[in-house]
């Protein structure tokens, strides 16, 4: 297989390399067609897929529940802790896409609880239960007229309790506290 070709400029402690631009082949020289919007096409394709989202979210919730059960019955080992983290992390990332944005906060709070607890065996099981049950309840009750407001209140309280626990557990680790309190690149995220 042919190797890349590249132009190299050498500076005092580094090189600047300009590789052959193999992607230029994809820049279209066709006249701009205002009626052809690739983003709109993709959004429509996603909308066509959206009939699956509710059942996909149910599957993700089931996965979260199974991971919670494994941690509770078999212990907060590295493997089970990671399964629980990944399940919550996936829900956090998919929630808005699947039409349940209000459950992302509880899933995010659970991720933080697992990620920043220095000793996972000290994580209160009840707090894990509250997070998992909150995610499930928010999704289950999503059609209620007050669902978004209730979810916001639930997410806020879970985040407060989690942060209180994490700040106490990391009281000797200022760098971790800085991360816990650090900014998100997503507004209100």
């Amino acid at each position: 297989m042919a190797k890349e070709t590249a132009a190299v400029t050498t500076y005092g402690d580094h090189e600047m390399i300009t590789p052959q631009n193999k992607l230029r082949k994809a820049v279209s020289d066709k006249p701009f067609d205002p009626n052809d919007d690739p983003v709109a096409r993709a959004e429509q394709a996603l909308a066509d897929l959206s009939g699956n989202f509710s059942s996909w979210m149910d599957e993700e919730c089931e996965r979260l529940d199974q991971a919670r059960l494994a941690c509770k019955t078999l212990g907060f080992t590295t493997a089970y802790k990671e399964k629980l983290f990944h399940a919550a992390h996936d829900i956090k990332g998919e929630a808005a896409t699947f039409g349940f944005p209000a459950c992302a906060g509880a899933a995010d709070s659970l991720c933080r609880l697992i990620e920043y607890a220095p000793d996972p065996t000290k994580i209160p099981v009840k707090l894990v239960d509250q997070h998992v049950d909150a995610v499930r309840a928010i999704i289950r009750e999503y059609t209620r007229s007050d669902a978004i407001a209730l979810a916001a209140e639930l997410n806020k309280r879970l985040r407060e309790v989690t942060d209180e626990f994490l700040l106490h557990e990391n009281r000797e680790r200022p760098d971790v506290i800085a991360s816990i309190l650090g900014p998100s690149i997503i507004p209100n995220g």
Binding site: S28, V39, E94, G182
Partner: protein
């Protein structure tokens, strides 16, 4: 005038352990007009697929089993170790902390896209890597796209692009810190 991309001329590799997210990405890419979209479900099979399919653009998740998107990026960004260490890598992740963006940048990703995914966000990242590729920088401990995206008229530090000796960034400590925070 806006740059238009012919997605049918691009080959994509999507690496994500979540089957639902792979389906969503495939749907969006096909919606843009892509025809060649390959998938892998973890970092190890992702690296294998990278070697086998020689994609133009890699879209990878961060948190994955076996090895994660950050480690995968570092494996790809090895000059001389594979056929295309310059490949465009878009990291799509649920991580949204600023330190994560910095760590991903220092591992050599080309673009960062935080979930929730949107058609517009993904499209913009792809147009950016195709139409505005950045040069690569090779130092003692970094190989990847130029991390400087803009120039500041107020900058007053040493100018490393005019020769002479300058500071060397220690990135490994930051990467280790991000990987094992708890």
């Amino acid at each position: 005038m806006a740059v238009r991309i012919d997605f049918a001329k691009l080959r994509f590799l999507v690496i994500d352990d979540n089957a639902h997210m792979r389906r969503i990405l495939r749907t969006l890419l096909h919606g843009f007009g892509a025809r060649e979209v390959y998938e892998a479900e973890d970092g190890a099979s992702g690296l294998e697929s990278f070697t086998h399919y020689v994609p133009d653009i890699v879209i990878t998740d961060w948190a994955m089993p076996i090895f994660d998107g950050l480690e995968l990026t570092q494996m790809i960004r090895q000059p001389g170790a594979n056929s295309n260490p310059y490949v465009a890598i878009v990291m799509l992740t649920g991580h949204s902390e600023k330190k994560r963006v910095t760590a991903a940048r220092d591992a050599g990703i080309t673009e960062f896209l935080a979930k929730p995914i949107s058609a517009k966000g993904l499209y913009e990242r792809i147009v950016n890597v195709v139409a505005s590729p950045r040069p690569f920088i090779k130092t003692k401990n970094y190989f990847g796209p130029d991390r400087r995206r803009m120039t500041s008229s107020n900058y007053s530090g040493p100018d490393r692009r005019k020769g002479g000796k300058a500071d060397v960034f220690r990135q490994s400590a930051l990467l280790d810190k991000v990987r094992a925070p708890g």
